[in-house]
């Protein structure tokens, strides 16, 4: 009888199965997908249902709800509340602020910006972290010292504060660094800030893993066979980083979105005419007494997105590193079995 592991039970498919068994994680993954669909549908909703854009103001207009005419913004400056489908989908969630913009449309478009910035920043940070981690961990020596020290310096800064400062500086004056030029309203400003300041968060664990992987025999073997450093890094080390990278990338999107929201809330992130969930909260907080929904809705969207990403990231970590959780699961399983059946060993003796 062969005792070799069958080919289909590769580590990736095992991990996938483990992940799928976690129903909570799958549910939240579904939620995240829903949110993405929600924001991607923005132009559809704006054109066909709400018939307005995210920045269009309707201060002095009226809409027809169930035959009645209502002010979008009342005389005292109070924006209209959620109409749901009363006006055919217009002002589904009401109007925001004195400017009378459609909150639902803004929520969708704002979400696009938030997700775009969050994912881009996380992607950029991850790529940078992989590059730096590979170089530092593989080459060691002065390369490692240089990179590690730089990461340490960034790590020890009050990241949000400096990010804020940089955000403001760029918002006011734009960026000019040699050939690279960015206008003050460019979305690249927050993306760059967030990614640079969050690189150490991923780079340090990656560097650590690369360091330990570099000591392993299969790397020595590859070098002995004459593989160039680049080849070794790409074919031997990189694939082993995959699980760490996947988990961290997921968590980084959540972090980046929170970072962006914070920056934008204070005015140092996404600049007008762009808006994100963060900028929407600024407006909402001002009108908290009059219409709390304006602050709660974008905040809720951020929270659901971040929550989904955290749950999924956590589940990915468990699925890819089974020791801890699997043992617990097994313990619970045995509790159920105990007393009901005889131990397996006896059954196989006959």
């Amino acid at each position: 009888m062969s005792t070799e592991p069958s080919a289909e039970r590769g580590p990736w498919s095992l991990a996938l199965r483990r992940f799928l068994r976690n129903r909570l994680a799958v549910a939240f993954l579904g939620l995240f997908v829903l949110i993405v669909v929600f924001v991607l549908a923005a132009p559809l909703w704006a054109d066909h249902v709400a018939d307005t854009g995210p920045n269009q103001e309707h201060t002095v207009e009226q809409i027809t709800v169930d035959g009645e005419k209502k002010d979008v913004v009342s005389v005292e400056g109070k924006p209209i509340g959620p109409q749901w489908f009363g006006a055919g989908g217009k002002f589904f969630l009401g109007a925001d602020s004195r400017l009378g913009r459609d909150e639902m449309v803004r929520l969708m478009y704002g979400g696009r910006t938030s997700l775009l910035v969050g994912i881009s920043a996380a992607l950029l940070a991850t790529l940078l972290a992989i590059a730096l981690g590979l170089l530092a961990g593989y080459f060691g020596g002065w390369v490692d010292s240089l990179i590690a020290r730089t990461l340490d310096v960034i790590w020890s800064l009050p990241v949000f504060l400096i990010g804020l400062a940089v955000g403001i500086a760029l918002a006011v004056g734009g960026l000019k660094l040699g050939p690279l030029e960015l206008s003050s309203g460019s979305l690249w400003n927050p993306i760059l800030i967030i990614s640079i300041f969050t690189v150490p968060y991923i780079a340090r664990p990656i560097r650590g893993e690369v360091l330990s992987l570099s000591q392993k025999e299969f790397v020595e073997a590859a070098i002995a066979q004459g593989a160039s450093p680049a080849r070794v890094m790409f074919t031997e080390i990189l694939p082993n980083l995959a699980s760490t990278v996947i988990v961290f990338f997921t968590l980084m999107i959540a972090n980046s979105m929170l970072f962006e929201a914070g920056l934008s809330f204070l005015g140092a992130g996404v600049q007008p005419p762009n808006s994100s969930w963060g900028t929407m909260i600024t407006v909402g907080v001002e009108l908290l007494r009059i219409q709390p929904l304006l602050a709660i809705l974008p905040g809720l969207m951020i929270m659901l997105t971040v929550l989904s990403l955290n749950v999924v990231g956590d589940a990915l970590r468990d699925a890819l590193d089974p020791r801890g959780k699997a043992r617990l699961d097994a313990a619970l399983q045995f509790e159920a079995q105990a007393g009901a059946t005889r131990p397996v060993g006896e059954a196989s003796l006959s």
Partner: protein, 320 residues
């Protein structure tokens, strides 16, 4: 040990230097527009801009500009222009509020975070663990700017039990001081409780699998002794360092959003206002102040860590 501390202090100075350079580069060099314009702010008159240009020496070489900037910082001459005040004064004014906010919240999050983490770990896999883990994940996912408005709306606007913001100094009225800080403390604490409980839980689960815990059981220690003397003692070390870093970051003004929403006149709020008005000097000042505190806490944390873990202090010998 002395040498270790000395090395760390030198490191601290180096990092502070690096930070000041970064601040300089970011504010003076990178932006497209004239740095004097940036400093003067949105509503500056051309005369003001010209004065600033002369004062700061923007026509001179970059290193000289850096020195001028540092000189201004250290002699307290860094000023904001609307209204005309030294930045350092405003920062010092804001410290009591920020410290009250941070220390109170930190005490709460540390206590509850560790409690929840401990309970989760010793009942790992059970229903309590699942609930607490869920609570923790929810906690770290709640953004400040959702929680704070909700709390304000519920407790201040609807139920009207607590005030909706602002800071009352302790010396003025201790009871009011407390009442005004409850919601901000809760806001700050909720975020970190989740985080710390997960960190402690994870550390404890790792440590519980270590060989020396097995040895401790094998020599006849009671479960409680094993837990406190071996598991907790070793699990808490990374938590303490994390706490130090977090605390440093919060004092440095990362509570900026909380201060802004609750209208607490601390250092963070000062920075928030400056951001809203696009005023550069206060932001520079706060950034440097913040960096100083973070680096200070980092250094303290490093030293405490070395004290707690003798391997770091004495340097691990190559095992035979």
């Amino acid at each position: 040990m002395i040498r270790f501390v000395a090395r760390r202090l030198v490191g601290m100075a180096a990092v502070l230097f690096a930070v000041s350079v970064i601040v300089f580069v970011v504010f003076m060099v990178l932006p497209k527009q004239n740095p004097a314009q940036s400093l003067a702010g949105k509503n500056a008159t051309p005369l003001l801009v010209k004065n600033i240009e002369e004062e700061w020496g923007f026509d001179e070489s970059l290193p000289k500009q850096y020195l001028t900037m540092m000189e201004k910082v250290f002699t307290g001459e860094l000023i904001q222009y609307e209204p005309r005040l030294p930045v350092s004064d405003r920062i010092v004014e804001g410290i009591p509020a920020t410290f009250s906010l941070t220390i109170g919240a930190a005490a709460i999050w540390l206590f509850f975070g560790l409690l929840l983490g401990y309970l989760s770990a010793i009942r790992a896999g059970g229903w309590l663990d699942r609930i607490l883990t869920g609570v923790s994940i929810a906690g770290i996912s709640v953004p400040v700017f959702l929680l704070a408005p909700v709390l304000i709306y519920v407790f201040a606007n609807k139920l009207e039990i607590l005030p909706n913001g602002q800071y009352v100094p302790f010396s003025e009225d201790p009871a009011e001081w407390l009442k005004h800080l409850v919601l901000p403390w809760v806001t700050l604490a909720v975020l970190s409780i989740g985080f710390y409980s997960r960190v402690l839980r994870s550390n404890m689960l790792d440590v519980m699998n270590e060989d020396y815990v097995r040895t401790a059981r094998a020599k006849g220690l009671s479960e409680r002794q094993v837990m406190t003397r071996h598991v907790l003692r070793n699990s808490l070390i990374p938590v303490i360092t994390l706490f130090g870093l977090d605390f440093g970051a919060t004092i440095a003004g990362t509570a900026i959003i909380t201060e802004a929403i609750f209208d607490i006149d601390g250092v963070g709020n000062y920075a928030a206002e400056a951001v809203a008005k696009f005023e550069l000097p206060p932001i520079m000042g706060v950034a440097l102040y913040g960096a100083f505190f973070v680096v200070l806490m980092n250094t303290i944390v490093d030293i405490v860590y070395a004290y707690l873990d003798p391997r770091v202090r004495l340097g691990e010998t190559a095992s035979g």
